[in-house]
Symmetry: C2
Subunit: 212 residues, 2 copies
């Protein structure tokens, strides 16, 4: 489960999809543009008033087929998330440290590289933060782990109301811990019933495993 | 550089090697049995008086060809180190958490799984410790990284004079940091001139990157 391999991408309904943001959501302060055609991500962004923080994800398909749109969008977001293969393919760098630097030069102030079961790396120009994944005994289904990670990360920042180094590191912890629940079951099996208390307990256990 | 692949093992001089421990070293308190034929590791151990702490490493070659000897030796050591592939192949477990548990059931009280650029995992029955690797910009030569890691780890424990959870975690940090220097140059280029001060500085930087 180390390397995400896309055997085939079927865009299906997304080919003609024109996302409309509800009026009540246009004032959102924290926005995560999940992986989709970068032109659609841009179209969503245009419907929003003035988000305080914008994060985005992408995938190899768009890196190959919509590179120009993707690069244009990257100049408008604060946080760029990618998995390790995508970070390498966008920058041509094999080292993830070099790839993170290369991605930041493309616009986003904060780069987040997801390495699946091997954890993540965050780069903000003056600092690197590295975390392992939370060690789970059995990975049942990694589908959605990246989006769950992004949800935990953005959720923490939204409620913290800060983007300082300490908050970013804690947000990374919450993303890591949220994703660790996701992989323990199929689909939404684990995440749909997840409580803040369970997340908090695992974050505390994770701190004992990692911090020194 | 993710996966250590052994294309061919030439035992060479090791076929007839009979290691003799100098009289002045027989009283060593901290012993690391680096990777070699488990029967030779056992022969070295027999020459030692009463080590306080014994660690060992092995490799796929011995797992395949000398499994019985390896398993016998594992019952006599305190700490077993293996890379991720070896941990999986010895236990038949794909999950490293399950593999670490499986290895501990074979005898050693402490299991250390090395994951190269992805860090390491330590399991001691009642606790897991997980650490990423120190993020280096360019890996020049990973040869010897595992032994450098073991050296930093055992060196820390020897000077700490303790084997509590805190000391073990710190020892893992020193092993991680020592190995990070090793991979930045060919052979002993970096390690031969390494100072305690440089190790300490990197351990401090690593703490900022990891601890929360």
């Amino acid at each position: 489960l180390d390397t995400a391999r896309t055997l085939r991408t079927e865009l299906g309904a997304l080919v003609t999809f024109k996302p409309q943001v509800f009026a009540r959501e246009r004032g959102a302060s924290h926005v995560f543009l999940a992986n989709i055609d970068p032109d659609l991500q841009q179209a969503v962004l245009r419907q929003l008033r003035r988000p305080a923080l914008i994060a985005m994800d992408s995938m190899d398909y768009w890196i190959r087929h919509k590179r120009a749109s993707l690069l244009r969008l990257m100049k408008r977001v604060d946080i760029f998330m990618a998995n390790d293969q995508e970070a390498r393919s966008l920058t041509g760098e094999d080292s993830l440290v070099a790839a993170a630097r290369g991605l930041r030069a493309l616009g986003p102030k904060l780069i987040l590289v997801k390495k699946g079961q091997h954890g993540s790396l965050m780069y903000g120009g003056s600092f690197f933060i590295v975390l392992p994944a939370y060690p789970v005994a059995a990975v049942i289904d990694p589908t959605g782990a990246g989006d769950t990670f992004a949800g935990g990360f953005m959720g923490y920042l939204a409620q913290a109301g800060s983007c300082g180094g300490g908050a970013l590191k804690k947000a990374l912890v919450w993303g890591t811990v949220a994703a660790s629940f996701n992989v323990e079951g199929f689909g939404l099996e684990r995440t749909a019933t997840l409580t803040k208390k369970a997340l908090q307990a695992r974050a505390t256990a994770f701190r004992r495993q990692v911090s020194f």
